[in-house]
Amino acid sequence: MKHPSAKATLLGAAALALAACASTPPQGGTSAAGTEGGAYTWWDPYPQHDSSSAWAKRVGACGQEAGVTIERTAYDTTALTNQALLAGQEGNAPDVILLDNPAVSTLADAGMLTAMADFGLEVNRFDKNLVAAGELDGNTYGIPIGANTLALYYNKKILDDAGVDPATIKDWASLDAALKKVKAAGKKPITFAAIGTEEGSFQFLPWFWGAGAQLTQLDSPQAVEALQLWSSWLKDGLAPNSVISNSQNTTWEEFLTGEFAFAENGTWQINSAAEADFPTGIVQIPGKDGGTAPTPTGGEFITVPVQKDTQRYAVTKKILECMTTPEGLVETGTTFAYYIPSTADGQQAILAKEPSLKPWVTAVQSAKGRTSDNLGTDYPKISEALWTGVQKALSGAASPADALKDAQAQVEQATGD
């Protein structure tokens, strides 16, 4: 504990140079993952769930089942990746890390993660489109403990008042028509998050993919169409200008005020939507010419960092199995309000319990991993260029076509070497 944290602080300070912003002081750290006492270390990105939470108990129970105690430490998502890198460098990585899925290929490429096959863990039963985010060069480096994705939440009261039937929203044209009707009725049509972070790319991807664009070519005509759609919403006053700096949480807060007809948001708001002061519902994000647009998968992967002491893997495997049985997945799903299980069995089981989740299960089944298509470690660079392009176009700094041309050039420069 003493040694690594001191060094971690130093490294943080070094990389930050003069920057005053406190990076991420290693709050919890772990007591060295020694073999004594049968303690296994576990990191996850859920600091909102403290040690008395249902989640912590669930993690603890899986440890008990495997005959060990689990020492859990929670960091927030970006801090977790940085902490994992530092721990990897120090050679004292925890036994299990729950990683946000785009980070899996980065850490796997760094040689920090154990492939599931080396470990003897079967990955075939998990949905292909979900596991894809954990694949790199033919190996699978983690398993999704559940998945979430995006859809359009609507405020039923506003739609009724404006005379919009959500069932008619089948493609971009009908969505546009619905938004204009809402505006004519004097309400705010739609809000989303176009912030200059991963969240901005995450929210833009359904429209990007829904137009038929590919992440390998950011300036394709289809991509330009998708960005034109968003820009036109801002220009026509269908979406507020503040979306440029809105995170998904802020967007949701706006929706909860009851002023907005639609909000693009994720599975994780199901409970909050049910508790809103107005009736809500969801529609799938439409593709440009109809059908459901592929939405990006969100959610964490269980990964197993490489350990010097390979004896530890046997117990780790038991813990992983406990977390990913169909019942286990359902339990994780309901603990997390909501996480859609990542296997067909799990999905059946959660639907039996909560039939109202049906549209979300469908959405997850048609969702697509951001690092899929073997983009792997190039994805973070592509994503950065994409959200910058989106911001340029929405803020009026460049036309959608020019903004995406710059973005593609940025990607080629960043991934060229």
């Binding site: 070094a14 003069l18 970006t78 912030i195 503040s242 440029i244 470690t377 994805y379």
Partner: protein
């Protein structure tokens, strides 16, 4: 002369006896400081330079086998389109901030120097920006400057001024974060300049008053010249503090939209921690450039100070 020599001849044996224990106590007292300096200043600096001279991909970072690339990271950064823009933004942000902070801080310090009833209370209230956690003040500023729902736009609308997209327009986002940073920096300037004012002897003002100097003349002929050393150090510290500002900009705009408010410090932070994939080498290179800029400013300060002492 003779007396000193005698003393010089006589004293050595006595001195040597007294000094012997000192030879060990001196380094012993110095050791903690030296260890501290090495551990917390020299090592991070060394590490930062080392990071910038190698190609630290996440893989290299973990496996500890980065490729030595010499000055390639620097060349890449200097030739990047973003560099000139970030440098320009840094200059505008830093110089704009410290100029206005200093002017307002000085005006307030002079105002409070003539103590009046409640002046202590008021002065304390001006320190609030300093006491608030940055996350609180930065979030509050970004709410106030929100395009649709912000109080600033609501107030402007009352005067018939249309919606200004403070944080979401490339034309105003740098201005918006600069305004917030000025507000944050005023207390620092106020406190130091106020302390400087206390050191100006009151009789000077009395004499000037007898000679019929107006308040304006007193300020420009007494206060301002006598405050020069304090002003210089205030401006230097302000410059160094402002160069490295990350948090307030990051919270308010993330350097956006489209890099419009990206300073060198934000750029460095984003390369290292702002995306899904840490790029430590270019981040460290930008950080080192910032250190150089701050160092150059320090040298200028020392130079000016020496000039002043000589004259």
């Amino acid at each position: 002369m003779g007396a000193t020599r005698t003393a010089g001849v006589l004293s050595p044996p006595a001195h040597r006896a007294a000094r012997r224990p000192l030879r060990w106590t001196t380094p012993a007292f110095l050791a903690p400081l030296i260890v501290y300096l090495l551990l917390f200043y020299a090592y991070p600096l060394y590490r930062n330079i080392e990071l910038s001279l190698h190609d630290y991909t996440p893989r290299a970072f973990i496996q500890g086998n980065p490729e030595f690339t010499g000055l390639e990271s620097y060349a890449k950064i200097l030739s990047d389109d973003a560099f000139l823009r970030a440098l320009g933004n840094t200059a505008l942000f830093t110089l704009g901030s410290i100029a206005v902070q200093y002017a307002l801080g000085l005006a307030l310090a002079v105002f409070f120097h003539r103590s009046f009833r409640l002046s202590a209370v008021l002065r304390a209230m001006f320190l609030v920006p300093w006491l608030l956690p940055l996350i609180v003040s930065a979030s509050t500023w970004s709410w106030m400057l929100n395009s649709e729902n912000g109080i600033v736009n609501a107030a402007l609308q009352a005067f018939g001024i249309g919606q200004i997209n403070w944080l979401t327009s490339p034309d105003t986002s740098l201005l918006a974060v600069t305004i917030a940073n000025i507000w944050l920096g005023i207390p620092f300037n106020l406190v130091i300049l106020y302390a400087g004012l206390q050191n100006i002897p009151a009789p000077l003002y009395e004499a000037a008053g007898l000679d019929g100097a107006t308040a304006w003349q007193q300020f420009w002929r007494i206060t301002f010249p006598l405050l020069r050393p304090v002003s210089a150090i205030t401006l230097l510290l302000g410059l160094i503090y402002t160069l490295k500002v990350v948090d307030i900009i990051w919270i308010m705009t993330r350097g956006g939209p489209a890099d419009a408010s990206t300073t060198l410090a934000i750029w460095s932070y984003r390369e290292a921690f702002g995306t899904g994939q840490p790029d430590f080498s270019p981040a460290a290179a930008v950080g080192n450039l910032l250190i150089l800029i701050a160092f150059a400013a320090g040298l200028v300060h020392v130079r000016l100070q020496r000039g002043e002492e000589r004259s």
